[in-house]
């Protein structure tokens, strides 16, 4: 082992840390993949499998949104629009124009990415509140267009007649097949995102989050990076939307409302704004919580509809942002670390702990 890191030129201790971090991600990734591969052995009920499929969709969306919000610090309250574009374009091409599924998925991803890019150029001139409202406005415009242009989209009744996804001669029908396809796509997205975050690009993004001005001064092309991340996250969302369309075989405007955009923000906030792994945790826990509330709420309040879960989501957002602005995962990790540190320091200062102190 050389004593100097080839990339950074810093002493070897950093290289070791680098190596471990890198393989931690790889190990965690492989463990997740293995766990997902065998999970259906225990989860045999179709309802529960469908929840797992939805967790997959939400993870694709949340990973992209977390790249955008956490790593570049750009708020988006309109991410459901890209999800909806993917779903509607895929649905239109396959149901109305008889395209086969995979070319439709690609076309949807390209068009949605293009749309995001075109929207991003003007919209990223805005900051903070203005960006938040502009992206929210996008959502309202999308909903209005989808509900109004009934000739194309089927309006509030939805776009019907979307075929099943097929791979070669096999037409996917079972929950299990969609589970595997969805999670294979999710893992691919995850791998791409982890690589981005741990690369030069990822460091540039974090620099943008810390200070756009400073990042720009250091030679980071701030606007270009922000646009690329927005486009990438829109492509992720489009892929999720395509699978969603094939899975349900119908797309209705209510699946892509501004409320869903907010729900995605809740997932990112729970997972931690800048954590790819947190995004999975956020997507899974909020999806499960939503499902639980949908089952419990009608029992607590007679006849309460699904949207009553809004109250819970709103409160979760507020509480997390006040007490753990870095997200639930980071917040808990920080507390655990602090407790461990306290315990380690309690018996008296060992050399190791003294070394750890700067």
């Amino acid at each position: 082992m050389s004593t100097v890191n080839r990339k950074t030129g810093l002493p070897g201790r950093f290289q070791l840390a680098d190596w471990i971090t890198h393989h931690q991600n790889l190990a965690a990734f492989l463990a997740l993949a293995a766990m997902l591969a065998i999970l259906p052995l225990w989860v045999t009920n179709n309802y529960q499998r469908s929840i797992l499929v939805f967790i997959g969709f939400n993870t694709m969306l949340t990973v992209g949104l977390s790249l955008l919000m956490g790593y570049t610090g750009q708020i988006s309250l309109g991410h459901a629009v890209f999800f909806g574009c993917g779903a509607y374009i895929t649905g239109l091409l396959t149901a109305r124009y008889n395209w086969s599924p995979w070319p439709a998925i690609v076309a949807a991803a390209v068009l949605t990415g293009l749309l995001a890019y075109l929207v991003g150029v003007p919209i990223f001139k805005l900051r903070g509140h203005y960006l938040a409202m502009a992206t929210l406005g996008l959502n309202i415009i999308f909903e209005t267009v989808v509900v109004t242009e009934t000739g194309w989209t089927g309006g509030s009744n939805g776009l019907l007649g979307i075929p099943r996804l097929s791979i070669g001669p096999w037409v996917l029908k079972s929950e299990l097949s969609y589970y595997y396809v969805t999670w294979a796509m999710t893992l691919a997205i995850l791998a791409v995102s982890l690589n981005i975050v741990n690369s030069r690009v990822g460091r540039a993004l974090r620099a943008i989050h810390a200070s756009e001005l400073a990042a720009g001064t250091m030679g980071v092309e701030v606007d270009a990076f922000k646009l690329k991340v927005l486009t990438l996250s829109a492509v992720y969302a489009s892929l999720a939307g395509s699978l969603f369309a094939f899975y349900l075989q119908i797309v209705t405007p209510s699946s892509f409302s501004f409320i869903f955009s907010i729900e995605l923000v809740v997932m990112v906030a729970v997972g931690g704004l800048s954590s790819i792994w947190g995004a999975i945790f956020g997507a899974a826990s909020v999806t499960l919580l939503g499902e639980a509330l949908r089952n419990i709420m009608p029992r607590l309040v007679r006849g309460a509809s699904a949207e009553a879960e809004l109250l819970a989501f709103g409160l979760i957002l507020v509480i997390i942002m006040i007490f753990m602005p870095d997200g639930l995962t980071a917040g808990v990790a920080k507390r655990l670390r602090a407790r461990r540190q306290a315990r380690r320091e309690a018996p008296g200062r060992t050399e190791q702990s003294a070394d750890a102190m700067p």
């Binding site: 309202i140 109250l311 006040i322």
Partner: protein
């Protein structure tokens, strides 16, 4: 109906809608000036004000008709009590959610007020269910006819209420000590604190004022448009669009912005397409924001 009277009709509709947006925009501006926070729950205060009034005024089943409230207060009393209750809710939200997050980043504060907004919307749904609720017109009677166009009495109430509140706020900010203290916080929070103005109390007061003005707006519009648990979101968004015309800080411009937005909507709906009514508001916002952002008015929308 001739074209002229039709256009006049759109003008009346636009001014009525615009008055509501103007009032909600004033709430945004007041809170933003004093605290630097954009309170996305502003429109939800309007929803709360209206639905509480309905509950006090007529026999209403709550929690999906588990509880029935049968107070049947006279309308003016119901309105006063509802405004006070909504104001208290505004204060409680400030104390519970905004004050503890002091010093948080802009992105956290945005997420917090959005969280409050959807929490109120969820609460509204649980309490009042999905029904849209009406209120009776304040003064029944035949509408006023001007050149073939019709101005209802409730429209007069809405526009009149807006004017009264604008004048009242102007007098308050210019001629009372409290109003001046609030303005001082808006100009320079640190300097205001050095002058012995308690910034925290002022922030609390700005939330109370914002909630009260929004509640009144929600109550006066309900006889003509009905109010449901989810009406607050669009009101928030449109009030915000109006407020940005004044750069979020200028109250008179925000009022003008609200009226303009109302007119854009009314004429857009009447002449182009009523289905795209809401989209017009946001297209207007995009155009405005982008014109502003490109620095045509020498203003950059940069927030730390």
């Amino acid at each position: 109906m001739s074209l002229e009277s039709q256009l006049l009709q759109y003008l009346f509709a636009g001014l009525t809608l615009g008055s509501i947006y103007a009032l909600i925009a004033l709430g945004f501006v007041t809170i933003y000036n004093v605290t630097g926070i954009v309170n996305f729950a502003q429109g939800d205060f309007a929803m709360l004000g209206a639905l509480i009034t309905v509950t006090l005024y007529q026999r209403t089943g709550l929690f999906n008709r588990v509880i029935t409230v049968d107070l049947q207060l006279p309308l003016p009393l119901a309105i006063v009590v509802a405004v006070i209750l909504t104001t208290l809710i505004g204060v409680v939200l400030y104390v519970l959610a905004i004050r503890p997050a002091r010093g948080a980043s802009v992105i956290s504060l945005i997420i917090i007020t959005i969280g409050l907004s959807i929490a109120l919307r969820g609460l509204g749904l649980i309490i009042w269910w999905t029904d849209p609720y009406p209120l009776p017109v304040f003064t029944p009677g035949p509408p006023i006819e001007i050149a073939g166009a019709v101005l209802t009495r409730q429209n007069v109430w809405v526009i009149g209420t807006m004017l009264a509140i604008v004048i009242g706020l102007y007098l308050f900010f210019e001629h009372t000590l409290l109003g001046k203290a609030l303005r001082a916080c808006a100009v320079n929070r640190d300097a205001a604190r050095l002058m012995g103005i308690k910034a925290d109390q002022m922030a609390l007061f700005s939330f109370a004022l914002g909630a009260a003005v929004s509640a009144i707006a929600g109550i006066v519009i309900t006889p003509s448009t009905f109010m449901a648990y989810d009406s607050g979101t669009l009101l928030s968004l449109k009030g915000f669009v109006a407020a940005i015309m004044g750069g979020l800080t200028n109250a008179p411009l925000a009022v003008v912005g609200g009226l303009l937005l109302g007119l854009v909507e009314a004429f857009g709906a009447g002449l182009l397409s009523s289905a795209y009514k809401d989209a017009f508001a946001f297209l207007t916002m995009f155009v405005l924001l982008l014109v502003w952002a490109s620095g045509l008015f020498g203003r950059r929308l940069v927030e730390a």
